[in-house]
Amino acid sequence: MSVAETRTERSAGWNRPPAVEPEGEGELLEVAMGPHHPSTHGVFRMDVSLDGERVVRLKPVFGYLHRNHEKIAEGVAYLASMPYTDRLDYFCSLTNNWAYALAVEKLAGQEVPARAEYIRVILAELTRIQNHASTIGFLLQEMGASGTPLMYAFREREKILDLFESLTGSRMMCNYMRFGGCRVDLSSAWIEATKKVVAGLPAFVDEFEALLTGNEILMARCQGVGVLKPDLAVNAGISGPMLRASGVNYDLRKVDHYGIYDRFQFRVPLGDHGDIYDRYMVRVLEMRESIGILNQALQDIPLGPIMDAKAKLRGFRPKPGEAYGRIEAPKGELGFYLISDGGPNPYRYRVRPPSLINLTVLEDMCLGHNVADVVLIFGSVDIVLGEVDR
């Protein structure tokens, strides 16, 4: 069966027949996993049809955290949406800020000074490391390693959050980027503290890998489970570590050349099989590449202004037009699409959330697997419900 065929058949409606033929004679068991489920990363429901232990149909139910982000943003000034972007993917507020700032800068034609670009790269890569570490921790938590890997991840995450807090004033909701630059400048003490934290990160990743990569249980539960084929991944618009674990070489940092990523030496890790284990491995390797980028950026960061001299924060009214700004967020391609009618607030504000779009292939990955694997496959997608439902 080709990919196109399966997807058209599935879009026939929720009451469609099972996508996989049941084996036995008995009835199918319908299980609603969620919205209160300990492993659904928030409020999300999966209605699963089971043939014994085997999943034959899966229906995701969204909207339990729909907070009207886009509608609110159309009613407030451009800058007033910046704190709301923090709350999209609440693990990675700084990359959300960057994507939104990038879209508005395109719309208004602003230039970002070199120092601000370096600050953005440093913060984005720190965000990527703490996001990937936490994701792996949660994945292991769902595998039954109750607490311990997550504690290792959060130990490092706290160190990075301390850096965020000392720079931006908030642990999670940083609200730091501005159109045309950044809000406050880095101090040399902050750079020294960051260098110290970054110097400790390779040891953390080594320790993490020593515990997990060769772990018998992890390999048994993850290898060959939840395989996502590259052609389906491309067709469905999957991005980020999910796509690269399927072997598709697509990283916006390399493809789009946004910011100053051209100046850094880094590789894009790719997977071979597209299973959960590859997704785990790609995230570990991305953490290592991020550490490399951080070392280069902390070394080369120039002095200078952090705001575009022409940038206007008050009375900001971009010319009529539209712009789409996208970055490689830790979870995938995060884009903001804005239409301006010349007024102080956007006429249309749309988020392209990587979490939601990566979730669309959940059923394709889960079919035929045991119900216990659904939780793992779901965890390996790496979603945050604030971004899925917005």
Binding site: L65, L150, R155, G386
Partner: protein
Amino acid sequence: MVDNELKIELGKQGILVTTIEELYNWGRRSSVWPMQFGLACCAIEMIATTMARYDLARFGAEVFRPSPRQADLMIVSGTVTKKMAPQVVRLYNQMAEPKYVIAMGACAISGGPFKQGYNVLKGIDRYIPVDVHIPGCPPRPEALIQAFMTLQKKIDGQPLTGEGRPRFLDADAQCEFPVPEQGAHDLEPPSNQGVWPVEIQGVGSRERRDIDGRQVSTDH
């Protein structure tokens, strides 16, 4: 009641004097098991609180139970949307007494930054009684610990008989609350009058007046 100084003096001699009430409440407050129940951003800070740095285990509350039947405390950690509110109330009803609620963060208290949103419940205390509110967006882990300590103080101060005794010792007290349903425009009812005495004018019940101030029909 034993005089406090005498109690300390006896304690020095190795004699423990206490009351049933004190002992009972000490036991109750030292093992408050929260429900593993995250809604939004605040849930991440809740998880951070249980991790090594903040270590909620010091307060006897590290055991997060996935099932409401085994939990004593519900931490409403994040935005409650109108789609989620019925499930939150239902989960609360499923918890066994004694049960307590912490409303964590601006969203759980009042809707927070998303208050103007059409799909956001403006505070969970419209439907269930809340014991401790923590402001913040999101509150820091220290704030959640503070809320725990406040809750422990509240449990410590509850007499076992008479006025102000906990609900599970009062046969007439209401332990379950009506679950709201999705109406034509909004949740029905817009609030539970028992816990939220202020009447809320829902969108559906709002009086519409024409330009001269006459009331017009709302049936459309």
